[in-house]
């Protein structure tokens, strides 16, 4: 049973201290889909302009990603983002954002997508996320991402959405902003009170924290000296996590924890090259081997 994801599809320009890549494939739904496709087929919903290179759609289709939900707006331009990483390769400045076709995005699920059991609402306005939720009538598990922009400008809509979610995934600064708490552990617990049954706080190079009524835990990032481009790591984490859940068709606590570990490991490949270059060429065997290494790393 395919996993449903709705999110951004983008052309990214990325500057690091040693290299620049212009207009390469990116976007939350693209990183998510490619990561998840190592575990389960994916139904993708997003929007592009008619400047969108057909080769990117072909790449996704070659990897069990159903692009029937990828709208093309004639005369429109694809969403573009330009960012520059600091020498530590963790802090980054957003240099340019061109929403383009995203401004008109009205997510519509193809009929076949509505029965997806596992649903990921990638970073988009809570209004759009709610529209997707209402169409996904076959949903069994719904997890959403959000960002500081929506916490600030669509707070009421976000709060309404949170009440309908099983899981919320957000990064550390967003968790602090959402809850007004500077301690990540209490911020994570406060986010639970807003509705979701579990909350995952992404900490970039420091891994991820998990919160439910019964559990609090932290998993560190997989240590790598080879950080070429961290763009998409958080979306790859979510893709690995949700992909594993969809593969298992389960989300009990033990499966969720293994899913988080798969998310960490999947994201660790993404950063090893620009764009999707590493993520799309790895094999499931490589992911599994790194998971075994990671499990061993955490055993004492």
């Amino acid at each position: 049973m395919p996993l449903l994801v709705v999110g951004t599809v983008a052309l990214d320009s990325v500057e690091t201290p040693t290299a620049v890549r212009e207009n390469v494939l990116g976007g939350s739904a693209v990183f998510f889909s490619t990561a998840a496709s190592h575990f389960a087929p994916v139904n993708l919903v997003g929007v592009v302009g008619d400047d969108w290179p057909a080769e990117h759609t072909a790449m996704l289709q070659s990897r069990k990603v159903n692009t029937a939900g990828l709208q093309t707006i004639a005369g429109g331009k694809t969403f573009r983002w330009r960012g520059k990483y600091q020498p530590n390769m963790n802090d980054r400045d957003t240099l340019e954002v061109h929403l383009n076709v995203l401004e008109q995005f009205n997510p519509v699920l193809p009929e076949a997508f509505k029965q997806s059991h596992y649903v990921f609402l990638g970073n988009d306005s809570p209004k759009n996320q709610m529209k997707v939720l209402q169409q996904a009538t076959g949903r069994k598990l719904v997890v959403a991402d959000t960002m500081d922009l929506w916490i600030n400008i669509q707070n009421d809509e976000l709060k309404a959405l949170l009440k309908q979610l099983d899981g919320l995934v957000l990064n550390d600064s967003e968790a602090k902003l959402l809850t007004g708490d500077e301690n990540l552990v209490s911020a994570g617990r406060k986010a639970l009170n807003l509705g979701p049954r579990f909350v995952v706080v992404k900490k970039g190079e420091h891994g991820a924290m998990f919160f439910s009524r019964d559990e609090t835990y932290v998993l560190p990032a997989y240590p790598t000296a080879r950080v070429i481009d961290p763009t998409g790591a958080g979306d790859s984490f979510a893709g690995g996590m949700m992909g594993y859940l969809a593969e298992r068709q389960a989300f009990d606590p033990q499966t969720l924890k293994t899913a988080l570990a798969y998310g960490v490991v999947t994201a660790s490949f993404t950063v090893e090259d620009f764009s999707l270059n590493r993520l799309k060429t790895i094999t499931r065997k490589e992911i599994d081997e790194r998971l075994i290494e990671y499990r061993k790393m955490l055993s004492f």
Copy 2:
């Protein structure tokens, strides 16, 4: 067999967003000793002025800490530090440093201390750390801490010391400064090339990383919502780690990893109250119980 520690003994003034404590017990050797004393007896070498409250010495002595190496300089004043924590309780500003008797500190090991097998050179000048090393003729394992000041002003002496160490413990920004590498994984590996057989990089709220020729791993911090005062957490980590090694009288890779986990768990108690208030009242049973929780947290 007692563990030897040489380091600072201080009176700290600590400001947090909600409280202030004036002239409370602190210093790297004091946090280290108290943490380590849950595992093994400790031989302490340090210096104070005659303003030093006798009750602090009595507290240490009540916990298997031999204070025969604690010098008192008549007419001198104890080292004082004042710091203020930001609302996130991780970033802090040093408001005042009064070295006082530390400026004259010449570490001298009582005869009985020289045979200590496990030696921790707490944060002090590399010149002084080398003096201790030369007196510790019975040493089997020597681990040192350092800081940005010494990396900057006694770099040659530090490099000479590093060649004589088994282990180096330092924090993330110091590791970057020492090696000129912004990626912590490659910084840790480069630090190995300077001499020590293993390197531990402390990441505060994000845990610690371990590097040897054969291993690289990360252990996250134990998640706690109750952060009252993080002062001394890094020294408590080192104390828990070295205390466990001294208790086991072993430092094979598996024992080292368990020792790091004990360091993480011991430090997680320190932050739960000001000064030594929590660290000195916990029991070994509480530490062991939290270690079991921590191990479970990292299993999937």
